[in-house]
Symmetry: C2
């Protein structure tokens, strides 16, 4: 890559969203975009997202397919105290390990509930069930921890709790250089600039160029997004594109 | 199923969202929730969602995996006029068929652009490339059609265009009976009602029961959602659950 520092280490990830409520349309997912943005900022490439129902077979199959293909697999949802929360058990099954109440997770929950003056009931204790060999991810919002086993990072589905867990786990993630991007807003339909755009993509084959159409007051316009690890090369391509578009 | 009409035909579907912009966090997906709600309303069960990048190999693999497993596969994104729009070609490859400019799609585009007084340029004509054997899906918003090939329904990524295409294709879809649901809002943390909730799930094993926690002014509360095809059985389960929860 011109001007770059030679071979770049690319760190990839997938996200598995677990929950019937997303698939039924009852709940609008907020986590995909938040996780995508966060990973992009810290230099991890999110390469696939899957949403599967609260079904052990589906979760196990998706976890095993995705953890084998990507450097990291993040999951959201299904780690609460109710009977339909089956993520921890499904992850244990995917890894072929046992699952039981984890002493450290139990003491985190005891401490959390003690401060609130409520009991650690059997239902609450269910949230301390952690697959063997996993490490805990702190949950400053509601006590019950997430966990990490191998390259799989298991987080809550409630967005504010998920974000806290994602922040907590970030320092221990291996990251690459963030992909830099330049957005060029074009006040015309993408069909009008498609030929010039394709010509610049051919000229700057090492800069990924995408066109994202949208309607602005009912009129089709486009955002052209250029991406590269190399700031200099990115600016060169953006300047060339602006010039041919007369911007 | 008690009170039901015997064997129920379940019509399943998957959704494949195609686009780097979702995975980079640049664009927040709006289509998953809209499609999930629509399919739920017309009696089709959305069972899986995947998001993959603008990469032919990834698209082909996902299309072939998902169209084999579900009654329908819907896709969004990547059917515009720019070089990064590779969905139509990837679908043709997945089906092992040729792709070329479709005369009917071309005349739709000609008509659309003629009314606006603009030319059908080669870039615009690219949007008339349709895999052999596909039927067209009307696009009242911006002219360029979606298409259906076998059980795969290929739609635009711009939300207003996607919705128009989804409406257009709906009359030709085979549907089942819609899953009915009752939501019981509980003003307590789900950990407080988990035991009673699990007991009712055991009692009404044929009614799917899920708990969806959220924070209300920072306090954990939950929506309990009961789902069944059978209205009578659903009401019975909801009444029993309300009673044990003192609601």
């Amino acid at each position: 890559m011109a001007g770059g520092s030679g071979e770049e280490r690319i760190v990839t990830a997938a996200l598995l969203v677990i929950g019937d409520e997303i698939l039924s349309g009852r709940t609008e997912d907020k986590n995909i975009a938040a996780i995508a943005r966060h990973l992009n900022e810290i230099g991890i490439r999110l390469r696939e997202v899957r949403v599967v129902p609260d079904d052990e077979g589906e979760i196990v199959a998706a976890v095993n397919a995705l953890r084998a293909r990507f450097a990291y697999l993040f999951t959201t949802g299904g780690i609460g105290p109710t009977h339909d929360d089956i993520t921890a058990d499904s992850i244990a099954k995917a890894f072929g390990v046992t699952i039981d109440v984890d002493p450290k997770a139990k003491s985190l929950l005891l401490e959390h509930y003690r401060r609130r003056g409520v009991d650690l009931t059997p239902a609450r204790l269910r949230m301390a069930r952690i697959p063997a060999g996993a490490s805990l991810i702190e949950n400053p919002v509601s006590g019950a921890p997430g966990f990490r086993i191998g390259n799989v990072i298991v987080m809550a589905g409630v967005p504010s709790i998920m974000r806290a867990m994602l922040e907590a786990v970030t320092p221990e993630l291996e990251t690459g250089r963030p992909l830099l991007s330049v957005t060029i807003a074009v006040d015309r339909p993408e069909s009008e600039i498609a030929d010039a755009f394709a010509a610049q993509q051919r000229r700057f084959a090492d800069v990924a160029m995408g066109s994202y159409p949208r309607l602005a007051n009912g009129r089709p316009v486009a955002d052209l997004v250029l991406r590269s690890l190399d700031a200099e090369r990115l600016e060169e391509a953006a300047a060339a594109l602006r010039e041919v578009l007369g911007l």
